[in-house]
Subunit: 353 residues, 2 copies
DNA sequence: ATGAAAGCGCTAACAG
DNA sequence: CTGTTAGCGCTTTCAT
């Protein structure tokens, strides 16, 4: 692989001059600059960033760690963060903390070894796993920002959605519609004061006589079981709040297979406002948390700390307000009639034939 | 940031000894090794990979460039490739060739500057854009493999699905069911002998009297227009072959909004076998191309060339066979009855109420 | 405007 | 088993 010395030699100048020419330094004669640049181009020269990075002690690279990429929530987030980062002149190094061989701590370690300039860490449902690794990283001067709430005053800036308010909005939507028996479907992490459940319950409390049942579920299987359980109840819920759109999608599929029509028999709302929700039948009512805001806040905050470590003082918390998108999967309950519990015959694929 | 010299000093040994101890070299006394490792751990030392990479002239990193991450096709591919690469001891550097500021050529250039050991380039619908950049890269000794067919005998290994066979399978499925008027929906790149359209047409030809109409579409808007056009036809098609599951999802949403029921009035099949297809109502019939195979083939081929540049001789082509997954979105046409063209009243969200 | 020289942090001969 | 030395490719003072 061709290097700077080769170019310098060909041009009959020193390495320093060649370097300056390629960096468009003003302290060089225009004629030589052009000559050197032409030679470099023709020779197919490209800087060796690893040498350059070593020399300038910076990689112009941001680390991004997310739990997984197959969860439809993350791709758009990655895209947006990539846009912001690249727009600001930074490369992005993506790590999947859920990949078989890696974990959150490993990702952080790898990123530190690579000497990335900063890190955006998107927390998983399990909260912050690698608290120790994170603290150490910031202690060594690598700025980081957390995307997602974690407990215990982490030593870095944190941007997260106000899930509690999101839950509250859903609860009010349900009670306003007249629902009195509601279910929560999803993994139930405790996100402290910003937990969806906290807000949801607060919302329910404002209407007397509402009962609530929590069904933990993360996988397809668990959703299937959970839905079956709910439908088998003496008095099944008339509305389900799924903690994520992806869970809601699974739930809708299950309900359909059990010939329960949405929203007539059961209302469903999700969380995240993914495109997926608009493909469902009926289109999904959901809570939106402006990923654009999340992404740009995270990147801006990180870049701020990058140039000024003391930027805006001690660890900040930036909370993004949610918004309810009412679509087709919610309606008033059919109070007069209980839902049918026996599977329908024949074409099993659509409850609405 | 703490460096090797610091550790060496603290341990009272030379840098080389410290380096060897941390590399678990056998040529060192066990006691010193332990001592040094302990000191390094306590000090929170981590190797500086950028220095190390410069020295050993290798980054143990593979570049992966994909057109976009928001297209639901790619996340799983990325996940699988990441798994394979990491399993083989390589890091992955992801680049999005569709991101605002980057293009395929820029990605390749960036990857070359970073001195990645090899590159997997997933082609977009437009085919290989940065042919020049790719050639130059391999000329400089960076092995690459293309994921997706491109024309003109590219200078690198290529793994791709046999889309033609996929198209053929769909055509036969349609004609077997009795469809005689079929539509193709999607961007229409010409993928040479492996084009979906080629195989699809071949399949149609085997049954006399089948008419076909092609409707180009990539975006939501275009799908909407395309579907409207088809429905407005004197004799609308009874089956639609969407070039991707994501397009099929949009099409289904449009059809539903127009109160056309699937598959009774129109059959729909997709391509890619994404999870998305199972969330649709009805669940989508589609063509599968084993992404696992794609991913592992690509990585293995690349790793092969990495250790033996002459691995298996001149540029190889590895073609992955497709498989038809018949689900709920296809059936015999209702030949007796033409589809209703007027929108239904009332609840507009579901054609099947 | 240009060159000489130093050094970023690390590993790998080579020598002892 | 351990230390000395050189050098990966680049940028950047510091001289000239």
């Amino acid at each position: 692989m061709i290097k700077l010395a080769d170019i310098a030699e060909q041009a009959g100048v020193s390495e320093s001059t060649a370097s300056r020419a390629l960096a468009n330094s003003p302290r060089i004669s225009a004629v030589k600059r052009e000559l050197i640049q032409r030679i470099a181009l023709e020779a197919g020269y490209t800087v060796n960033q690893v040498a350059r990075n070593l020399r300038v002690q910076s990689t112009k690279t941001l680390g991004l760690v997310i739990p997984e990429i197959t969860n439809p929530f993350f791709p758009r987030l990655v895209q947006l963060i990539a846009d912001s980062a690249i727009g600001a002149g930074y490369r992005l190094q993506l790590h999947l903390s859920g990949v078989s061989q890696e974990s959150e701590g490993d990702c952080l370690a790898a990123l530190r070894e690579q000497r990335v300039d900063g890190v955006i860490l998107v927390t998983s449902e399990n909260g912050l796993v690698a608290r120790e690794a994170l603290s150490q990283m910031v202690a060594f001067g690598v700025p980081a920002v957390l995307l997602g709430w974690v407990s215990g005053e982490p030593p870095v800036d944190m941007v997260f959605g106000n899930d509690a308010t999101g839950g509250y909005l859903v609860a009010k939507h349900f009670t306003d519609l007249g629902h009195r028996r509601v279910a929560i479907l999803g993994a139930v992490p405790h996100r402290g004061p910003f937990d969806r459940l906290v807000g949801f319950r607060k919302g329910l409390m404002e209407t007397p006589g509402v009962t609530e049942i929590v069904v933990p579920a993360r996988t397809n299987e668990e959703v299937r079981l959970g839905i079956d359980h709910l439908l088998g109840l003496d008095k099944p819920p008339t509305a389900i709040f799924a903690y994520q759109d992806s869970l809601a999608a699974m739930a809708c599929r299950c309900l359909r297979q059990s010939c329960v029509s949405i929203p007539e028999e059961i209302s469903v709302v999700g969380f995240d406002n993914l495109e997926l929700g608009t493909y469902l039948c009926p289109q999904l009512t959901t809570v939106d948390l402006s990923m654009e805001q999340m992404a740009s806040c995270a990147v801006e905050t990180l870049l701020g700390r990058l140039k000024t470590p003391s930027f805006r003082g001690g660890p900040n918390q930036i909370v993004i307000p949610p918004q309810l998108f009412v679509r087709e999967s919610t309606s008033r309950p059919r109070s007069t009639q209980s839902i049918k519990k026996t599977p329908c015959e024949g074409a099993s694929h659509c409850a609405c034939d």
